[in-house]
């Protein structure tokens, strides 16, 4: 049975009307009135409670999952205000949804494991393809959550995730799960059955300056680099002292110049966004930063970003093994939106150029992305990344 797919979008100023308009468009495009699965994305100008209540009023029996985002990626544009909904329906697609609330209280690793277990319970005994999840992007170290997921799914099972984002204020994010609006939570869906999902990711940032070594760190906090306070690195590069850097929100500026951890087996650098400077000069990153890692300050530009988007899409297409993509889901870092500005859509044009015309595209800007990263010669292990673009092709 063919997959029913339809994407609706609205920028209406009122949350209820916007949700209704997006729904109407999705119904029209998919021909489905009650799809099995709906992916709901909303920018933070809308009341999420009104949005979800409106959606569930019309789709009481549909499994709804989604989150807030800094911007919505569509086939023809990128919008920093709006509501989008993706309808996905097929008898042959198997799925299992779950949500874990209050992540900080439960512990991230434990939460990740529970999220995976609950999803598998719903999913049943079918062939798995991929796990897609949305986690609160404000978490300091979501690497632990991923570790928990991998404890259940295994190290090389494709896990694709997005840290939920907002309008760069880093304090308004939320997640949708069925009829609930959640915070400090993670929601996910495992997909399988007669569906092919292909995932690929790139970032396009390049190392700059001399390599340095993380000489002291724990979890996601770098205390010293080359035996100096970690913040010294950014002070030297950005030309400001740490207090100024803190005042201007390191997260916003450092989005453009993340740290790159060199992985021996990979040509890519694993990027880490510094999000906060502590009083002792330590830098808090969005993911694990092991002591002894060689790090670079990384730099990217529009060309390298577009090239990365093209490469990710090429690999995702290649992995479909000749099958035609029915849907493209893009998850990319909000840093790329900031870096590319008005040129952000050029990345999407690069992706579109590789797939048949009118292939539906939906995507979101994330604050921390999870996707398989090449860590050995043979395998790709899902890792928390920053500044990346992930292309997920469904056929």
């Amino acid at each position: 049975m063919p997959i029913g797919i339809g994407i609706g979008f609205s920028q209406h100023i009122e949350a209820k009307e916007a949700a209704e308009e997006a729904l109407k468009e999705a119904v029209t495009k998919s021909g489905l009135k009650t799809p099995r699965i709906a992916l709901l994305l909303s920018t933070v100008q809308y009341s999420p409670d009104i949005v979800i209540n409106t959606i569930k009023k019309y789709l009481p029996n549909t499994n709804v999952i989604g989150c807030s985002t800094a911007g919505i990626i569509l086939e023809d544009s990128i919008k920093t205000r709006g509501i989008a909904i993706l309808f996905l329906d097929s008898e042959d697609i198997k799925y299992g949804l779950s949500a874990i609330e209050d992540l900080t209280a439960q512990g991230l690793e434990q939460s990740g494991a529970l999220l995976a277990q609950n999803s598998l319970k719903e999913f049943g005994a079918h062939g798995r393809q991929a796990f897609l999840f949305f986690m609160d992007g404000r978490m300091e170290n979501n690497s632990l959550l991923i570790k928990g997921l991998q404890n259940v799914f295994g190290n090389i099972f494709p896990i694709v995730g997005a840290g939920t984002s907002d309008d760069f204020t880093f304090n308004k994010t939320f997640q949708f799960y069925q009829d609930k609006v959640l915070k400090n939570s993670a929601v996910g869906i495992i997909l399988g059955g007669a569906v092919n999902i292909s995932v690929a990711s790139r970032h396009g940032w390049r190392p700059l300056g001399k390599p340095r070594m993380i000489t002291e760190s724990y979890s996601n906090v770098i205390k010293t680099i080359n035996h100096q306070n970690a913040v010294t690195l950014y002070e030297e590069y950005l030309g400001k002292n740490s207090n100024d850097i803190r005042a201007q929100q390191l997260g916003k500026t450092a989005l453009l110049y993340p740290l790159g951890l060199h992985e021996q087996a990979s040509q890519e650098y694993l990027l880490r966004n510094p999000i906060e400077v502590l009083n002792d000069g330590s830098i808090v990153c969005q993911g694990d930063v092991p002591t002894g890692s060689v790090v670079h300050v990384m730099i990217g530009n529009k060309d390298s970003c577009q090239q990365a988007a093209y490469e990710a899409a090429s690999e995702a297409k290649k992995n479909l093994l000749g099958k035609e993509a029915k849907l493209i889901i893009v998850i990319e870092s909000m840093a790329r939106l900031k870096l590319l500005g008005r040129g952000a859509f050029k990345e999407i044009e690069e992706i579109k150029s590789l797939f048949p015309k009118n292939t539906p595209i939906i995507g979101l800007y994330a604050h921390g992305e999870v996707c398989p990263f090449k860590t050995t010669d043979k395998f790709k292990k899902p890792l928390l990344q920053n500044e990346s673009i992930t292309v997920l092709a469904v056929s």
Binding site: R81, R206, Q249, V297
Partner: protein, 509 residues
Amino acid sequence: MSPTFIYIIVGAVVTLVFIVMIFMITGKNKTNQQLVAALDKMKKSFNALDEQAKLIVKTDLELNHAQEELDKRLSGLDALQKTSRLISTTLDEGEIFDRLKQSLSAELDFEQYVILTYSTKDSFQAKVVEGFGDKEIQLIVAGITLDQALMNKLLAGEIFSSSKSSPQQAKEIAQIFNTQHFILSPIISQGGMVGLVFVGNASNTFTITEGDEELVAILANQIGQSIQNARLFEEVYLSSRMLETKVLERTQQLESALEEVQNISKTKTEFISAVSHELRTPLTSIKGYAAILMDGKLGEIPEQVKERLGKINTHSDSLVQLINNLLDISRIESGRVEMNMSECALIDMIENVHDLLTPQMKEKGVHWKTNIDPSIPPVRVDASQYERVFINLISNAIKFTPSDGTITVTAKREDNTIQMKITDTGIGIAEKDVVRLFDEFYRVENKINQNVKGTGLGLPLAKKIVEAHGGKMWVTSVVNEGTTFHFTLPLKNEQSTTKNEKPLTKENT
């Protein structure tokens, strides 16, 4: 510095490191001193490279800021263009704000914005609000209104922003709006300030830039123009509506008045008709008895009595004539006259009238002249009635034309109408009298009329007969030169009826 260049440098450094490492590992043909020197050299190269990298980052950061500002300005211009198009295509003030609300939410990257309208009568009214509650708006309005110095500056057209205004002023406005980063601009129209535009960001994430200030200034200007256009249109529209209402009211008044006049006229006609009938019967008796007395059937009467009886007879005839005219007019007016339509030759009718009035013309020494278009076909008229038109008009002409004068009767065909005129070389009629000439009982005051008796009904009756045949009658005159009565007769006289047809009424003439 291009990224390619950066990559080349980075690549070269990595290669250098690799080579040095090989040398270090192999260590063949190298002394420890040489190795230390090489390492030192390498370290210096790294440091130099790192310094370059720092320079690159700083330059890149500046470029990014410039790019961000440029993007913001471009987005702002795009937003302005869309917003301007939206609000300039409506002349409804309410619709302008509805469209602004929709457009600003989609196009502007500000967390908060408010558009207030202002008038001395109504103070500030919130029209578009994002990011503030009702109570906050009330406090904002109170805050602005109470700050007279700020109000004066706004009224003078000054724009404020958190980045450009004096720290003290910026602090005051930030307190009023409870927002750190803002732009506050008056909306200026021809008549002065008509409102305010405020945009702001409460968080430190987005600060205000020069591009933002320009954007808001242009936006405020555009809103001002649109409001002005809408208000002008509203004014014109209201005036037009008021005028329409007045015209409608006046028309209704006139219709009522006309209806009243028609009712009065109808009553008058009925009254005249009734009275005339009542008068004619005793008059007939008076005439009859006078005739019996004059014939001497009741015995010889003295000459003096006979003479008096003759006067009674003459005056009775005049009275009968007057009453008959009144009855005819009232019949035509009330639509009760029955027209005996038949075909007749106009030239014959005119000749008959000429024969009838020849004695009077001869007596007065007035010449007769006709100019009748031979192509005029036989006309369909009530001959006895239409003959009265000629008799009345020609008799009048004889009356007012001096000896040796000329009366000319002209008739010519113009399309489907016969144009006729009776021209005399008489004393003429003054302009003030011309306009009342066809009023019933109106008689021009002149010497001739003082000596010759008349009822003032002849011309009104002639006009009504012409109109009853679907024609028109009017008069032109020059004092001391003569007068011309013009009248027309349609060749296809659809209004006329025969005996068996529907009676002629005023409504269908």
